[in-house]
């Protein structure tokens, strides 16, 4: 017994016969399925892991710091309505001295209770153990830092704690929910070697920082129905007298904000890229099936004549569509799953989770399958509908000859278009099927757009690097003091080895408000005219800081709904708690963070305490860098050091690696779409016009001349697709740049002409190769067979 019905056998044979075209469509579908599984799976993995990890470690929901708050107010904090747990801590930046590493690393030294787990922000132990009571030199370090240095429990390293060098012994290696994305001061991307997080017993830090009975950092978890805003307001009031710098929620927590950015990028990818592929796949299915049905018109008539129902014929072609889709779904699912694992391990490098399982729940595959089937059937519907509509007697007769319009008329009197008849043939065919021409053009434009959208990141990053490190923050290092010092300290900095120039700055935490809108930021104040670190205006020109008033970055001004000339309600968190209206004198440009700048004299006046500086930005003689590093490691007054030069190199390396990966993916995707669209388009044209083209060969036209008809048609569509692709690509890029803009950083929209050119070249090459594959078939046209048959 043969399990296949005759019609099913026909499907199998059709698939074998149409394998190349079917595969081209299946690959386009596979790209859609792959990106869907990849992006959706990765987003879920990240989201689920984050939720699970935060729950397990009781990650805080509200965070605040102060200069020195008495432990006694902890009770008052706990009593705030909606607060479920409170952890007070001592948190300070430190300089870490690693044997064999010239440059100093920076770290955050955080206290943990001497006994038991913290109520908030628990540690996840990866190896070893937490410090034992009484062992004052024991500490845990975060895993990324430990791995970067090959640290194991029992290893030691030196830290400069409040001016005293101490040798710490690693008792255990941990993960912290606060440092899933661990980024050091002044860095744009994590640098595991140069940034570490160290946890030690509270009693040890009490002593080291003279903070007995006091804390400078607090984290809270909330009950389910807590009013966040209210909690923040009450907490701020409690901490205000003790140098509170303004409480904030998870959304403003750097590590979590980076995770959020990644998640929103993944979700955007889910919403944009798979639909592009599925749309193109649907269109290709429509094109192929329409042609197949046109060729099988008489067979359909015959089937109907012998009693097959419309439903049976519909189901027959639907099954063919589903069979092609199934191939695409299978390839896409396998590729998506494999790439998903790759993505998960890539995330493993950036995000410190105890586990990151790429979600492979069956529903992901069910969703992908259903969406793909739906898209394919939508594409097929119109073609199948046309087939079943014909009465059998009509279907068995050949279709009426195609009527053309008398356009591009080479014989028209007067004005004569310089087209040969071969060109006229090609152009009239394009105009005869306007929808198909338009969709093929769009289908070729989309890979151009996709490439521009992925390649423009190169241009933007180059521009960012130039702006951030060569126009704005041109210092080699930023030294931050343990606490504000008198302005004379700049002279000491200038005397440090290798320092060629030093510019002082003062940083003060502040809350800026405008009505109900507010932001906790740092006001950075420097001399009115600076050369090392400069503030840029919207045209990227360096500007002098005005003697009064404040400058805000564009994004911050927009967030606060403020324009130049408005008054900014400014509250300084310097222990004085002054709240004054400061005029917004200008809007500045920055790609990183939310910045507020003032001149030092303006901030001095505002705070009522003049002449203080928080640190210095320095230019260093490169040949003496090691001397400076060695000195910084010995200088108690310097709490942290940000090395801009190394940050820049690290940023470039990480971004280039990421861009490299994404470009490989996008170029592959673009080539697959181009091949799918052009190859199918050419095959269908060849099938429709086999008779015409063979006739031309018979009349003595060479293969080259005959293919020129096909090539002209494809060429016109591919050329038209370029400007359309540039336009769509530009629009996508605008959306991407807007979508990726966060309070942490934003990507400038810079698209160099070469990006348009490269994108077009890739697609043009892909189109040319696809067309040439089909062109070879023209050489093999059977000149005799076609003359004996009717159309």
């Amino acid at each position: 017994m043969n399990p296949l019905s005759m019609l099913d056998r026909k499907i199998v044979r059709d698939l074998v016969r149409l394998w190349a075209q079917s595969l081209a469509v299946a690959l386009v579908m596979a790209c859609g399925v792959m990106t869907l599984i990849l992006a959706l799976g990765a987003a879920r993995a990240l989201d689920d892991t984050r939720t699970a990890f935060y729950d397990r470690t009781r990650f805080g929901e509200i965070f605040a710091s102060a200069t020195r708050a008495p432990e006694s107010i902890k009770a008052a904090i706990s009593a705030i309505d909606g607060v479920s747990a409170v952890a007070t801590r001592i948190v300070n930046p430190v300089i870490i001295d690693i044997t064999g590493m010239a440059e100093p690393a920076t770290g955050m030294l955080i206290s943990i209770p001497d006994h038991g787990d913290p109520a908030v922000n628990r540690l996840y132990l990866r190896s070893g153990r937490l410090p034992e009571p009484g062992r004052d030199n024991e500490a845990t370090v975060i895993e990324a830092f430990a791995e970067a240095h090959g640290f194991r429990p029992g290893d030691t390293f030196d830290v400069l704690i409040n001016g005293r060098k101490r040798s710490l012994s690693i008792s255990g290696i941990v993960l912290s929910p606060e440092y899933v994305y661990a980024i050091g001061p002044g860095d744009m991307v994590p640098d595991q070697k140069r940034f570490g997080v160290i946890h030690m017993h509270r009693s040890v830090l009490d002593g080291a920082y003279d903070m007995k009975g006091a804390f400078n950092d607090v984290s809270l978890t909330l009950s389910r129905y807590a009013d966040r805003k209210d909690v923040i307001a009450r907490l701020d009031r409690l901490l205000e007298p003790h140098g509170g710098t303004g409480a904030y929620g998870r959304k403003e927590h750097v590590s979590d904000a980076f995770l959020d950015t990644e998640l929103s990028q993944l979700r955007a990818m889910t919403q944009v890229i798979p639909p592009i592929f599925l749309f193109i796949a649907a269109f290709l299915i429509n094109m192929i099936l329409s042609r197949l049905i046109a060729l099988e018109r008489e067979q359909i008539g015959l089937l109907k004549a012998v009693g097959y129902t419309n439903a049976a014929i519909t189901w027959h072609y639907a099954k063919l569509t589903l069979a092609i889709s199934l191939v695409g779904i299978t390839i896409g699912a396998v590729a998506g799953t494999r790439l998903g694992h790759g993505m998960a391990s890539l995330y493993g490098e950036f995000y410190s989770f105890p586990f990151l399982v790429f979600s492979q729940k069956p529903d992901l595959y069910v969703i992908s399958t259903l969406v793909t089937f739906a898209a394919a059937l939508a594409g097929a519907a119109n073609a199948i509908h046309g087939a079943v509509q014909l009465p059998p007697a009509v279907a068995m007769r050949p279709p009426a000859p195609t009527r053309y319009r008398n356009l591009f008329n080479a014989s028209a009197g007067g004005f004569r278009l310089p087209f040969s008849q071969l060109t006229v043939m090609a152009l009239r065919h394009l105009v005869r099927w306007p929808l198909r021409t338009a969709l093929t053009t769009l289908g070729t434009a989309l890979p151009v757009a996709l490439l521009i959208t992925s390649l423009f990141a190169f241009d933007s990053v180059e521009h960012m690097i130039d702006t951030i490190w060569f126009q704005a923050d041109r210092q080699d290092a930023t030294l931050t003091f343990a606490s504000d010092r008198s302005g004379d300290a700049i002279r000491e900095v200038s005397r440090l080895p290798g320092v060629m120039a030093a510019e002082p700055f003062r940083a003060t935490a502040a809350t800026l408000r405008n009505g109900h809108r507010s932001r906790n930021i740092q006001i950075l104040a420097s001399d009115p005219v600076t050369d090392v670190s400069r503030v840029l205006d919207r045209e990227f020109a360096a500007i002098a800081l005005p003697p009064a008033g404040i400058l805000l970055t564009e994004r911050l001004a927009r967030h606060l709904e403020l324009m130049a000339g408005d008054q900014v309600d400014t509250e300084l968190h310097d222990g004085q708690g002054r709240r004054v209206l400061v005029p917004l004198v200008g809007v500045t440009n920055s790609y990183v963070g939310l910045n507020a700048n003032m001149s030092r004299q303006a901030l001095d006046r505002l705070s009522g305490r003049g002449g203080l500086i928080s640190g210095a930005r320095v230019i260093v003689d490169e040949s003496r860098l090691d001397d400076l590093y060695a000195e910084v490691k010995q200088t108690p007054a310097i709490a942290s050091v940000a090395l801009q030069g190394i940050s820049r190199q690290r940023f470039r390396a990480v971004i280039e690696e990421n861009i490299g990966i994404s470009i490989t993916i996008y170029v592959t995707l673009a080539v697959i779409i181009t091949f799918g669209v052009i190859y199918n388009s050419a095959r269908i044209q060849l099938s429709e016009r086999a008779r015409e083209l063979t006739s031309l060969r018979v009349f003595g036209f060479t293969s080259g001349e005959v293919s020129s008809v096909l090539m002209t048609e494809l060429g016109v569509m591919v050329i038209l697709a370029q400007p359309l692709g540039w336009l769509i690509g530009h629009t996508f890029s605008v959306l991407v740049a807007q979508g990726f803009a966060t309070d942490l950083f934003r990507i400038p929209l810079i698209i160099n002409p070469s990006t348009y050119a490269v994108s077009s070249l890739i697609v043009l090459s892909g189109a040319l190769v696809s067309a040439l594959i089909v062109r070879r078939r023209i050489d093999r046209l059977d000149l005799i067979r076609v003359l004996k048959t009717r159309d």
Partner: protein, 242 residues
């Protein structure tokens, strides 16, 4: 009508010992089996015979669309059997006009443009308008094939074939798809073209009535020429009984 063309002594085609064997799967089909034939310059020849007798195969070989399995096909003394694809293409382009049963017009080009398609690449063509006038279609020049009747379409095909002033005009069942009245109009066009341009014309047909318009009639049977009859008296196409 004249019994013989003017240059009756010079053969434009000399075909000797031509066989053609098609290998279709495991079956060997001997389409031509030792054909000997000379076509004279300017003559009108009719190749008559039932389906499968080999006449189309021979026409395809003469037209440079196919090569014989063995034997020799000489066009003006040049061997076609050994010509490359490129040489055959040029041969078709420069010397041969084709007319087929199903017209093979380009549907996206008007009558004028279908003719111009060929004249654009020919070395010394007549104008498309003149070619169309020769077949009586001067008033239908700017119609598309879909707007023309079958007979009109076939006349466009003839105009296209002759516009390049070919030395050979090969017609494969030119009236096969037409009714008798239309068929006669097409034959008249062919006879007129033969007379006015002097193109050697070979017409394949299985319609025996047509044979009397030719100078010479070759009858095919089982891949061979069974007989060759010279018409001492040719009739006008209008006298053909269908």
């Amino acid at each position: 009508m004249e019994p013989e063309p003017a240059s009756k002594t010079s053969a434009i085609f000399e075909i000797t010992g031509v066989t053609k064997i098609y290998q279709t799967g495991e079956v060997e089909v001997r389409a031509l089996n030792g054909v000997e034939l000379k076509l004279q310059r300017g003559e009108m020849a009719v190749l008559l015979g039932p389906s499968g007798s080999g006449k189309s195969t021979l026409l395809n070989i003469i037209g440079g669309l196919d090569r014989p399995t063995s034997g020799s096909v000489k066009f003006k003394g040049e061997e076609l059997a050994a010509a490359s694809d490129r040489e055959l293409t040029l041969y078709r382009r420069n010397h041969v006009g084709f007319v087929f049963q199903f017209y093979n017009l380009i549907p996206s080009l008007t009558a004028w443009e279908n003719v111009a398609l060929i004249t654009e690449v020919a070395t010394s063509p007549m104008s498309p308008a003149d070619a169309l006038a020769l077949v009586g279609l001067e008033n239908r020049m700017h119609h598309f094939p879909a707007q023309l009747s079958g007979g009109e379409q076939q006349r466009v095909a003839i105009a296209r074939a002759i516009a390049k002033r070919p030395e050979v005009l090969l017609c494969d069942e030119p009236t096969g798809a037409l009714d008798s009245a239309t068929g006669i109009i097409v034959l008249e066009a062919l006879a007129r073209v033969n007379a006015e341009t002097g193109a050697t014309t070979a017409i394949i047909t299985h319609n025996a009535g047509i044979r009397k318009i030719a100078h010479r009639v070759y009858s095919f049977l089982d891949g061979r020429i069974a007989s060759c009859v010279v018409n001492e008296v040719r009739i006008q196409p209008s006298e053909v009984s269908w």
